[in-house]
Every structure is written in structure tokens, then in C-alpha cells.
């Protein structure tokens, strides 16, 4: 087990990258603490898998170093780094039994048979596959196959990090939940550093203690699930996390005060002195309410999503979502909307620009 440091990491799939856009990863500096449960969250194509493959050693970064406990491992092979990776599609050795599959990574490293047996039995019990140990792995159901792939990652007790690359993609929805909680439980027991890559916010937020949000090859925010929801550092995080995501409203910045369609909007705190560029107000739908005073809006759509209603309204030419519990307005109705002040933030060029 180790603390993993990524230092000034850049990676491009082009042989001679020139522009900033040529890089799939643009300058990553990050520490993964030993024993942490991390999620790497971001839309498809944002560089998550590239970053993962760089940590595992399947890819060599164009620039920058990777350190395990301060030791430079950038040039080490995946085998030497002693890491484990679970892939999107279950990788199992068809001709082997479940037992042999689990024992494979240990046997390759010449671990003594008694210890192998102990570890295999232990992992099989954790994954609830102990009654299938003698079966051929090729006959297993997809979720058991994926469990087996995970098991091969967890079986080594000295592994530096276990990485999961969207491991639940092929799993049926009702089993996803089960496997996800299993993973969480496993992490609490084995205390390996785990990095879980996904584009699904629910998976990321339920699994991880710390979520790393990526967009276009950059890390936009690192924080606990609560942090990401409560105070997104970037409009991308606000928009990407939450259902529906944060409202991002173009506004004007005058004398360090925000004006939305001409009317002043009270913010959570003072605007940073150096704030400049494209100004936007960020407010989550959860904190938009219908009240007697506020912005004039016309309701364009009301959707009942079960626990509450999502109201879509137009303020001038800007669309805004609000989550309303209790009485809802009708489509076409004129309403007044107000924002909860301590949840109303200003973003400049996408980045958070208010202080508290």
C-alpha cells in the first residue's frame, strides 16, 4: 500500500503535441492518500481512463512523474508496480476454475501455496463465491465473472492500489447496487487504496470518500460528495452533479455585485477582488423557491419525478429549473422566483468567484 503522487503529469496521444488541446491530460498534480476510497468522475472522453492507465503503467505519460510513497515508478512495468486493475468488461481466464483464477496473481509472484489458499478462501468468502471455487470460470454469470475480476484485484494483500475502470457497465441494474455496496464494504475491510472510475455520479458519490471530478483532461474539483454538491468549484461540477444540475445563469458584474437581467441578485458572500471574465450565477434547483417577490418567470414545464416536482421556467430568455415540494404551478402560469442567498454563488470564466 502506498501514497500515490502524480506530479506535473501531461499526456498526449499525438507524437508531437503543440496546442493545449492536443493533450488528453493537461497538467495533473494530485496525491492519492494511502487507504483512501477515491472516485474519478467525469463525462466520457475526459481522460479518466488515460489517467488510470498511466497510474497502472499501461501507458507512459508524455511528461511528468508518478511516485509511489515518494519513489519514482514512471518507468516501471505494470507487474512491477504491484497494482491491480478491474476493467469495464470482466476479464477471466476461461479455462481455469474460479479458484485458479483467484490464485493466478499470487502464483505468478511465487507466493507459497498455504498462503495462497488462505487468501483465496478469504476473498471468495468476501465476494460470496466460496461455493463456486471448483467450477470452471467460463460458465459463470456476468456479475459473478465481474466479481471474479474484482477478486483477482483484491487477492494480493500487498497491492499498492486497486483501480476500477467503470466495472459495473455490464452488470444488471439490480445487481449494480449490490456489487457497489459490496465494494464499499470490501474497502472498509481490506483498506487498500482504491480508485473507482465512472461517469455515473451515483456510483461515484456512494463509493468514494473523495471524488475527483475531471473535465477535458483537467481536474476541476476534489472533495467529498457533500462538498461537490454544496459548493461546486466550477460550473461544470455544479452542472454534472445533481439531478437536474445547477442552474447557470449569465449575469453582469457591476461594482462587484451581480445583476441578472437587470435586477441585482444577493450572493452568498463578497466577490473575489480579482474576479473577471464571463460572469455567471450558480444556484441549485433545490434552492430556488416560488415566492411573492422575486424574478418574474413563466412556467414552461412541470415534471413529477416522484418525491418532488421539477419546474422549468423561463426568466426572459433564460431557462431555469426549480425543485418544488407541495403545491406546484401550472404550465403557462406566471410566478415569482427567489434564490436562497447563502446558496447563490458567482462564477467567473467557470470558476467559483465568491467567498464566505
Amino acid at each position: 500500500m502506498a501514497k500515490i503522487t502524480l506530479s506535473n503529469l501531461r499526456h498526449s496521444y499525438y507524437p508531437a503535441p503543440e496546442k493545449r488541446d492536443d493533450y488528453a491530460l493537461k497538467n495533473i498534480d494530485l496525491d492519492w492518500e494511502d487507504g483512501g476510497a477515491y472516485a474519478l468522475l467525469g463525462p466520457s472522453g475526459c481522460g479518466k481512463t488515460t489517467l488510470l492507465n498511466i497510474i497502472s503503467g499501461l501507458l507512459t505519460p508524455s511528461e511528468g512523474r508518478i511516485l509511489f510513497d515518494g519513489k519514482d515508478v514512471t518507468d516501471w512495468t505494470p507487474g512491477r508496480r504491484n497494482i491491480a486493475q478491474v476493467f469495464q468488461f470482466p476479464v477471466i481466464y476461461d479455462t481455469m476454475t474460479v479458484y485458479d483464477n483467484l490464485a493466478f496473481p499470487l502464483r505468478n509472484r511465487g507466493v507459497d501455496p498455504a498462503h495462497i489458499d488462505r487468501r483465496v478462501q478469504e476473498i471468495a468468502r468476501l465476494l460470496e463465491v466460496e461455493n463456486m471455487l471448483d467450477r470452471r470460470a467460463s460458465g459463470l454469470s456476468p456479475d459473478n465473472k465481474q466479481k471474479l475480476s474484482m477478486g483477482r484485484g483484491l487477492v494480493r494483500d500487498d497491492v499498492n492500489v486497486v483501480m476500477f475502470d467503470e466495472p459495473l457497465t455490464v452488470i444488471d441494474p439490480h445487481l449494480k447496487w449490490k456489487l457497489r455496496s459490496k465494494l464499499k464494504e470490501l474497502h472498509q475491510r481490506v483498506k487498500h487504496t482504491m480508485i473507482y472510475v465512472t461517469h455515473d455520479q451515483t456510483e461515484a458519490l456512494t463509493f468514494a470518500d473523495q471524488v475527483v471530478v475531471m473535465d477535458e483532461g483537467e481536474i476541476v474539483q476534489i472533495g467529498t460528495p457533500v462538498d461537490l454538491f454544496a459548493r461546486p468549484a466550477h460550473t461544470f461540477v455544479g452542472h454534472f452533479i445533481g439531478s437536474p444540475g445547477m442552474n447557470v445563469l449569465p449575469c453582469e458584474l457591476r461594482n462587484r455585485g451581480a445583476f441578472f437581467q437587470g435586477s441585482p441578485v444577493p450572493l452568498e458572500g463578497p466577490v473575489r477582488a480579482d474576479a473577471s471574465g464571463r460572469a455567471e450565477i450558480g444556484i441549485r434547483p433545490e434552492f430556488v423557491t416560488i415566492s411573492d417577490a422575486g424574478l418574474d418567470a413563466v412556467v414552461v414545464k412541470v415534471s413529477d419525478v416522484g418525491r418532488h416536482n421539477v419546474v422549468q421556467a423561463m426568466v426572459g430568455d433564460t431557462k431555469l429549473a426549480a425543485i418544488i415540494e407541495g403545491d406546484v404551478p401550472h404550465k403557462g402560469e406566471s410566478v415569482k422566483l427567489s434564490f436562497r442567498q447563502d446558496q447563490t454563488r458567482l462564477y467567473c470564466d467557470g470558476w467559483l468567484a465568491t467567498e464566505i
Binding site: S56, P78, A84, T95, M96, P105, N108, S149
Partner: protein, 287 residues
């Protein structure tokens, strides 16, 4: 209620008609010859199973069958491992892929009799490239029209040259279908190259290899044109494989009855061995 309607059988008729003309009728003609004796003039005499008994007891048949199994066995032993080895060393990405594939496919595009004729000229002492090189440059006494061992080496090498590509192409198709994640997982599991071959590549190639081995078995067991053009079955009878012997009996001696009986036995052996191969290789999948 279920309605019963037998009209669907009419849809089977075209297939039945086709199969009758390309398999059943010719085959029945052979069966017909195999149980009768004829002296021409459309005169036939019932012979029962005598021809079968004669063939099965004849030393000539045993010898030809033995040579046939030796030939096919050597072909499989050489071409299957060699084909896999070549497929493994071929590039999986880049411009060289198509170059390799075309180079591999070329020998298979050449007609059988042309292959025989090519190798005949190629191996001629004094004139042929291989014949000249072996005799006059290396000083090996090589003449496949006189030396049975040389004749055998030549037909085996010729077949390997002509058909190893088939095993290569099929194995290669199996190899490129393996997702990259398998190799990545094996790397992080610390697997050696041999383990990767044994536990990932070989199992994934199994289906195509079954087909490759079956095809190579059937084709080499029924081989006729190339050795016939190259050695004509000689020197002596040393390269007289089953099919060459069969043609000698049928068209050389015009013994239609024994030839028909021999064809049926030949066919039965091919069918039986193919079935055995297939069943054994798929045993694990059926369980």
C-alpha cells in the same frame, strides 16, 4: 387450438432436390458399383460385400492407408504449431498488417496442379532452383524422383508452403479478437508470456483452431492433385497416398467395383476421424 398443416414440407423440397443431385445420387452410384461386378456392355453381377472384404484385407490398401495417415499426421504436426507461431509473431496494428496478410494469402490462391508443377520444376536437379542449390551448391544428393525420403520431404514441404497460411489466417483472426483488456489484466496479474499464451491466447483461438485442424485434416487426407503432379505416387509406391491409389484402381485398372468399395471406406474413415476430432475438441464446451 393448434392447427396441423403439413404444407411446410414443400419448402424442404428445393434443398432435397439439390442435395439429391450433388450428394445422394452420385453417392448411390458408387454404392451401386461397390456391390456388383461389371464387364462392360451394361452387364452387372451381384457381388455382395466381397469387394469390401477384399479391400480391407489387401496389403496394398493397408500400405496406402498407412502412408496417408503418416502424411496427414506430419502435416498437422508441422502446420498447426507453425501456423500458430507465425500468427503470434505477426503485427496486430499498422501498415504491415495488410502486407503480412496478403503475403500469407498468396500461396492459397494458386491452383493445386500449378503448385504441383511449380514444385516439380523447382526441385529438378540441374535446372530447378532448389534442385540445383541442394545438389551443386550444398552438395546434398537430392533427387526426389529416385529417393523416397527426398520425395516425402518434398511433398511435406510443398503442402506446408501451400497450406500453413490457412492455419495462420484463422489463428490470426482468433488473436485479433482478444480484447486489449485481457493483455492489460494479465500484465497487472504478473503473468509470463507463456501464461498469456496458455491461458488467454490459446483458449481464445480454440474455436478457430478446431476449424483449422478439421480443414487441414480433411484436405490433407483427401489430397490428390499436388503429389500426383509432383511425384505421381513414386518413386515406386512410396508416395502413393490413398487418393492416388484409388484413381489407379478406378481409372488405371478400371476395376470399378473394388474402386467403389474403396471410395466408400475412404469416405467413412474421413468422416469418422473428423467426427472424432470435432467431438474431442469440443468436449469441454459441451459439459
Amino acid at each position: 387450438m393448434k392447427t396441423h398443416n403439413q404444407k411446410a414440407w414443400f419448402f424442404v423440397l428445393p434443398v432435397l432436390f439439390l442435395v439429391a443431385f450433388n450428394a445422394l445420387v452420385p453417392m448411390m452410384t458408387v454404392v451401386n458399383y461397390s456391390v456388383q461386378e461389371t464387364f462392360g456392355n451394361n452387364l452387372f453381377f451381384w457381388q455382395g460385400l466381397d469387394w469390401f472384404e477384399n479391400i480391407l484385407r489387401s496389403d496394398r490398401f493397408h500400405a496406402a492407408l498407412g502412408r496417408q495417415f503418416l502424411f496427414t499426421g506430419l502435416i498437422l504436426l508441422i502446420e498447426v504449431p507453425l501456423g500458430i507461431a507465425i500468427a503470434l509473431s505477426m503485427p496486430r496494428k499498422g501498415v504491415w498488417v495488410s502486407v503480412c496478410l496478403v503475403a500469407m494469402a498468396l500461396p492459397m490462391l494458386i491452383p493445386w496442379n500449378v503448385v504441383g508443377a511449380m514444385w516439380n520444376i523447382f526441385t529438378l536437379p540441374k535446372i530447378g532452383l532448389a534442385g540445383y542449390f541442394l545438389n551443386d551448391v550444398l552438395g546434398v544428393n537430392y533427387n526426389m524422383t529416385q529417393d523416397p525420403v527426398a520425395a516425402w520431404v518434398t511433398i511435406i514441404v510443398m503442402d506446408a508452403w501451400h497450406w500453413t497460411s490457412l492455419v495462420v489466417l484463422l489463428s490470426y483472426a482468433g488473436l485479433v479478437s482478444i480484447p486489449e483488456a485481457y493483455y492489460q489484466a494479465a500484465k497487472t496479474d504478473g503473468a509470463s508470456n507463456w501464461s498469456i499464451f496458455r491461458y488467454i491466447q490459446l483458449p481464445k483461438m480454440k474455436t478457430v483452431l478446431t476449424i483449422a485442424i478439421l480443414l487441414r485434416f480433411m484436405d490433407s487426407f483427401n489430397i490428390y492433385t499436388e503429389p500426383f503432379v509432383l511425384t505421381g505416387g513414386g518413386p515406386g509406391n512410396s508416395t502413393t497416398l490413398l487418393s492416388i491409389d484409388l484413381v489407379k484402381i478406378a481409372l488405371g485398372q478400371f476395376d470399378l467395383g473394388p474402386a467403389a468399395a474403396m471410395s466408400l471406406i475412404y469416405f467413412a474413415i474421413t468422416l469418422l476421424v473428423s467426427w472424432l476430432f470435432y467431438t474431442l475438441m469440443n468436449k469441454d464446451n459441451l459439459n
